[in-house]
Amino acid sequence: MTDQPFLDATMAHLDVVWSIARRMSTDPAEAEDLVQETYARAWQGFADQGRGDVRSWLIAICLNTARSELRRTRRRPVTLVGGSELDGHKASEDVSGDGLASLERQAVSRALAALPEAQRRAIVLVDIGGLTAREAAEIEGSPRGTILARLHRGRRQLAVLAEREGLHRGS
């Protein structure tokens, strides 16, 4: 099997996987490692993937890989995402926009990190990853209604927390 069919099928989803990895990692360098590991694992399993939705499949691998890493290092994601975000971002190539935009992103990142894990994962899958609630439910192994309930509470809580971080409505 050559690698071109795999690259053709998966590279279009790199931005989505990266966005999710950023929310599951302490800094950009760790997120890059996570993405690399995700694609390496996906490459291993590509022959068995069939014709399913590639984006959902990659996202599931990314989340499982992040879980494995967390278990291995015995760290908690809530402390990971918020803690060194500022320093990590300074060294990243992906800083976009002006300083204000960067600060806003850090504020939203901290607010996301403060959400309960289940709500944060639902938001990461649906609002950042672009999955439907049904697709997220399949990845999480939960009923669609549960994902929707987590989404609703998580979104509302995120708005409240972001406002506490100084992000006012309309900003």
């Binding site: 099997m1 690698d3 795999f6 690259l7 590279m11 790199l14 931005d15 989505v16 996987v17 990266w18 966005s19 950023r22 929310r23 950009p28 360098a29 890059e32 490692d33 993405v35 690399q36 590991e37 694609y39 390496a40 694992r41 490459w43 291993q44 590509f46 022959a47 060294a91 190539e93 992906d94 976009s96 806003e104 992103r105 939203v108 990142s109 607010a111 996301l112 938001i123 990461v124 649906v126 609002d127 950042i128 672009g130 439907t132 609630a133 209604g145 929707l148 309930a149 989404l151 609703h152 509470r153 998580g154 979104r155 509302r156 809580q157 995120l158 708005a159 409240v160 972001a162 992000l167």
Partner: protein, 223 residues
């Protein structure tokens, strides 16, 4: 809308905010929102939260795109799991050979004089940098870089589709096809060439780094 069932309401409103309802359901929700201040406010907050989360989508760095491609192109799918340390794994015989040599046996093959290969220089330099790039090109050789940690110290792991040349003073642990080791200042450089070429560099004793780099064996799946 059924206000007595809070969870049911949450689900319906989340689907509405996420544009996952059919036309008839949308109409029903919007009719309800006209009369219910609580749900109206909940939808406003949820929309705000969704917009904030969506704004966190990012474009992947260009260097990551290259790194992923190099990972895939340099790793045949029959090599088993790609966990970082497993990728460095080799046969148990290699481990035994490496440790035996470190125990005082002969070094077989020593690098000749001349300047260091550009690839080795680039990786050693990246290992000493506070912020290392994720990939470098040295004398036309594409090298993917990542960091790992051993004994609390950073280990620079470099991969390339092309074997890494041994620098002057480097020594093979066995025959010419076995891993080679070199020292550069305080850094130990260990190279495992072929089938995937890996160079690891760290400020650690050679024995420790070799044992780590050759830890394995990697699981091999049936062809």
């Amino acid at each position: 809308m059924v206000h007595e069932d809070g969870r049911h309401e949450d689900r319906r409103l989340a689907a509405y905010v996420g544009s996952e309802l059919g036309p008839a359901e949308v109409e029903a929700v919007e009719a309800h929102l006209l009369d219910c201040d609580g749900c109206w406010q909940a939808v406003r907050d949820a929309r705000r939260g969704r917009a904030l989360a969506e704004a966190m989508r990012e474009l992947a760095p260009a260097s990551l795109r290259d790194r992923v491609r190099m990972t895939v192109e340099g790793a045949p799918p029959t090599l088993g799991a790609h966990r970082r340390r497993r990728r460095l794994g080799r046969s148990a015989a290699t481990v035994v050979a490496a440790l035996a040599l470190l125990g005082g046996m002969v070094w077989a093959g020593v690098g000749r004089g001349g300047p260091d290969p550009a690839s080795v220089t680039a990786v050693v330099r990246a290992a000493g940098a506070r912020t290392a790039p994720s990939a470098v090109v040295a004398d036309g050789q594409d090298i993917a870089l990542s960091r790992d940690f051993l004994d609390g110290k950073p280990v620079m792991v470099a991969r390339s589709a092309v074997p890494f040349d041994m620098p002057p003073g480097g020594r093979h642990l066995g025959g010419p096809d076995t891993p080679w080791v070199a020292r550069r200042a305080s850094m130990t450089v260990v190279c495992l060439n072929g089938p995937d070429n890996v160079l690891v560099v760290a400020d650690l004793p050679a024995e420790r780094l070799i044992a780590w780099a050759t830890r394995g064996p990697a699981p091999v799946e049936p062809a």
